[in-house]
Amino acid sequence: MSKINTLEDLNQAGKRGLAALIPSRIKIMVGMATSGIASGAQDVFNALAAEIKKRKLAIILSPTGSMGMDCMEPLVDVLEPGKPRLAYGKMTVKKAPALLDQIAKGTIEAIKPFYRMDEEEFIVLGEAKRYFKGAAPAYLKGIPTINEIPFYTKQVKIATRNCGLIDPESIDEYIAKGGYFSLHKALTGMKPEAIIEEVIASGLRGRGGGGFRTGIKWKSCREAAGDIKYVICNGDEGDPGAYMDRSVMEGDPHSVIEGMIIGAFAIGAHEGYIYVRNEYPLAVANLGKAIETARKCGLLGKNILGSGFDFDIRISKGAGAFVCGESTALMASLEGAAGEPRAKYIHTVEHGLWNRPSNLNNVETWANVPAILARGGKWFAGIGAKTSTGTKVFSLVGKINNIGLVEVPMGTPLRDIVYEIGGGIPGGRKFKAVQTGGPSGGCIPEKLIDLPVDFDELWKAGSMMGSGGMIIMDEKTCMVDIAHYFIEFLESESCGKCVPCREGVRRMKDILEDICAGKGQEGDVELLEEISKAIIDGSLCALGGSAPNPVLSTIQYFREEYDAHIRDKRCPAAVCKALIEYCIDPEKCTGCGVCLKKCPVNCITGEKKKLHVIDRTKCIKCGACYESCKFDAITVT
């Protein structure tokens, strides 16, 4: 690892990186982020490696991060010199030899790529590099380009710019994409105040959920009294279903590190911490390797890029408490104390970690910084909505066809995210609601589907941006059950320090449990609202302060479902087990026997080709028959 001290050193590293990114040999990339590995990418990688070795091929096999389309994992990209880059989805070990065969033959007969890339965007440099000259080869006719895939058409990637394109372990490849040039620019040509002005001009707001203006926060921390200051990266992503920060830490760790060095220089900090949850082993590993590499290159440590500025980063692993994503609890945990929040009347930018001025930003926020410095605050402010600039990464999960990570300009209508990027709801079912902002966010109903997604609009709709989780629900989702699920999560994650959150949230859970069990009482909804208001007003931190949101937003938009449960003892979505009965419609039942076989408690009887019957006294209401019947003969009442 050679030292990087000058602009020339950076250029040299960039050249090496570009030769690795777009080499003169065939290169196969396997998406090895957690989403890929969970789908079997490691096996695919090993199979390809073994096959390449066996055939003595001069093919480069490289790991990379996630391109976001997790429903197509394991993803394998093939880049041949002078040809478009081809993406193969749902790769298997079995398909590995066939893939190498068809590369040798120059065909796509055996396995069809699902898109091609003619060029690669280098957003930090403000340019795109074409993989080949002239037109795409004729045999690729009919393969759509990446921008023709609805999942990608409306995406603009800034924070996740390098994920799935570079080898996260290669600092050269990161530099080739324009990485560390912003740091050079900041350290050698800009005053700290000018950097802060640029970030203020960008309008960047905290991506962790608070939406506080990043530049203003930096300024306050810079101006705070004290010689020793800290910058901290919050990688304690804890919302169920949210994993955008994980993807960035795994797929592009240097973007976070570069952002933090720039921030530290602007603020006047010489020590930084990345607080990342231990349930993210790959993120911890990749960040650790990237920090080590940056140190060896001299990009962390003493006298960075010959500027005289010293800065280093340490990783601190969280033990998995949701509340540790809250800034003061995170700092308490960093200090070695229990992860409990404190009141923030005195801001952490003045008295934070070890009572010293501390600037905490989320992973995605830090990753945006190098791009902002490179392209200018004005450029960033030109993307997205007026008061929410830039892009936001969302994790699209739940009842949606295209599960994955998407990065869109702020203000993109919810409809585009759900129907175009997300590809709509599976099984042709109706979209019902989307939970944004994690467990402390809210449910946005179908009638607000045209809502532009930005900090302020989500807030107005009774939800919040949060870290960017989007859980899509279809018509078969019971909103009372959903409210109960989130409240149960928050109850178990409450740190227990203050009374309203510790005791209040569990009482709300008890009432919701009763409602779902058909034991709801008249006045329960009003009581839930009353408790909610007092919890919001009375809680010590934002976890308690926003805990009632899922209940309040579902009451606001789905009050009739609560009433049906309480008054009619009926679950309209047929989810709450205590309130439903399964029966077989004699007119539709063909006597095929599928339900009989699926029933785990053998409570369905009937001869072949004759009407089947459910014994309700034995039925455990698991819904296996309902899911398995092809004739819609099982009804739920």
Binding site: V323, C495, C498, V499, R506, L540
Partner: protein, 237 residues
């Protein structure tokens, strides 16, 4: 000095004072369960919340933590404030039905138990005010007790709920506990607290068992006063 208003009364207090300090100095009562002059603040009970208006903005703050500011208008009994206090007391009534302190406070404030809250049977009288833990750490200086678990399962105790070698049996935790949750029993020359038996030292003058030997040794070590000088009880000194 900061000039501001609490419940319509013009008040002056030093910068750095909390609203709770300033209110009490001026004879305005704000209920609390987790504050004590001898230990640092926690902001855990939320009973001391007040409504603060600053310009057009009004919000609920914790008076034991919020420092006074010029021009603020504080309402210690607004509707929003009372709604929080009512909920806190109802929640504590359901958690610790046997606590006289909570029952009396609720009665005083006209708060009735919420029938939809199922009464707990496993929490004893502990309201998790943290006074014991803070006293053990900040006043006694041994940190023998702390918290385990989180949420409603949070409990106060020695590490792993095993007999603690750090505990000196001083009983400060039991003395400060506002609800008498912490049990301390004395039989002849023995004191039992946190499941550990402490041998009591007898006063060299009157012979009364007056303090655990462990506590006297701790004091001796900390102050340099020889043990023999510490063997006299406060009454005989």
């Amino acid at each position: 000095m900061a000039k501001f208003i609490i419940d319509g009364k013009n008040i002056e207090a030093e910068e750095g004072a909390t609203i709770l300090d300033a209110a009490r100095e001026n004879g305005i009562g704000i209920p609390t369960l987790c504050t004590h002059d001898e230990v640092g603040t926690a902001g855990a009970c939320r009973l001391c919340v007040v409504e603060v208006k600053k310009g057009n903005r009004s919000r609920i703050v914790t008076s034991c933590l919020y420092n006074v500011e010029d021009g603020i208008v504080v309402d210690t009994h607004s509707e929003r404030v009372m709604a929080v206090r009512r909920l806190v007391l109802q929640l504590l009534l359901a958690r610790c039905p046997a606590s006289d302190l909570i029952r009396d406070l609720a009665e005083e404030m006209g708060v009735k138990p919420e029938p939809r809250f199922t009464v707990d049977t496993d929490k004893g009288k502990c309201i998790l005010c943290r006074l014991c833990v803070r006293t053990c750490e900040q006043v006694v200086g041994v940190s023998a007790i702390g918290f385990s678990f989180r949420g409603a399962d949070k409990t106060v105790g020695t590490p792993f709920h095993e007999q603690s070698k750090a505990c000196i049996g001083c009983g400060a935790c039991a003395y400060i506990c506002p609800t008498d949750h912490i049990e301390m029993t004395a039989v002849h020359d023995k004191r039992i607290i946190w499941d550990r038996e402490f041998k009591m030292a007898s006063c060299s003058v009157c012979g009364r068992y007056f303090a655990p030997e462990d506590q006297l040794e701790f004091i001796s070590k900390k102050t340099g006063v020889p043990m023999t000088d510490l063997m006299v009880c406060t009454s005989c000194r």
